[in-house]
Symmetry: C2
Subunit: 161 residues, 2 copies
């Protein structure tokens, strides 16, 4: 049926647009949050990653962010100086430095204060969705996440300009 397939196209196109907008705003909003705490977007990104993973070797962050090892040294040094991160030698391989997010209380409180309103509004937002709907959304986001990861891994690095 030409009519129903036309409708689906519209739905898909709409979703695509909305998705892009959300993506862009996410980038900007993350940046703004980071600045509020007194961090660079890069520093914030690394920290956020560490909070999910626990201790990892410094080089891991370099691979993830696409930064050079030198840049990561700087990022970690700044985060450590600011009390957000701890470095310690890897007992299994003493060339390595394990980096770990540190729970700084003041910083924690500040972050919560920032995310507080967002969290409240978000809960209000999702209260209008049924369990089934939320699960559909979650599944979609999970699959999107996996897709991005897969493609990011494939992308060769062109490095400098």
């Amino acid at each position: 049926m030409a009519l129903s397939s036309r409708k689906r196209e519209q739905i898909i196109e709409h979703l695509n647009q909305v998705q892009q907008q959300v993506g862009n705003r996410t980038v900007l909003f993350t940046h703004a949050i980071a600045n509020h705490i007194g961090l660079t977007a890069t520093e914030f990104e690394c920290l956020d990653f560490l909070q999910h993973t626990g201790p990892v070797p410094a080089g891991h962050l370099a691979k993830l962010t696409g930064l050079t090892s030198g840049a990561i040294s700087g990022v970690c040094a700044r985060l450590e100086r600011a009390g957000f991160l701890r470095r310690r030698a890897d007992p299994a391989d003493r060339r390595r430095t394990l980096v770990e997010a540190q729970e700084d209380e003041a910083a924690m409180a500040q972050t919560i204060a920032l995310y507080g309103p967002l969290s409240r509004e978000w809960h209000k937002l999702i209260s209008h969705y049924s369990n089934e709907e939320l699960q559909i959304i979650t599944r979609y986001l999970e699959e999107s996440h996996a897709l991005i990861d897969r493609l990011a891994g494939q992308m060769s690095r062109p490095k400098s300009r």
Copy 2:
């Protein structure tokens, strides 16, 4: 019922986590794409914005990105030099510079080549969703977008560290 509300909590918590992960990957992926084309994340962001809006005064980009007017001058100069952007005086207010995305063919092709695989995989992904499901997802993303915008507007700028 304690049991069903417990289940809902789990669903919400799960969605929250997935969402954060997608957000982070989006930031990183966008950055990677930008670098591939030979642009800074900032430059890419501005360009992407312009492609959606059409011509706007330079100061508009500054407000949107949170950069200073000086920084935007630099961004526009670099984008113009690279052929991605055109500047022209605003006939209605000659203090202003209207900036506009320029359709550079080579750059266009490059971007499509980059987004091509993503687009293909994405269409494959959504083929498993019904119209109704896609509409639920779209609505959720739209509402999220509106929420972010609202909160971003409220956030006062602390600027430097």
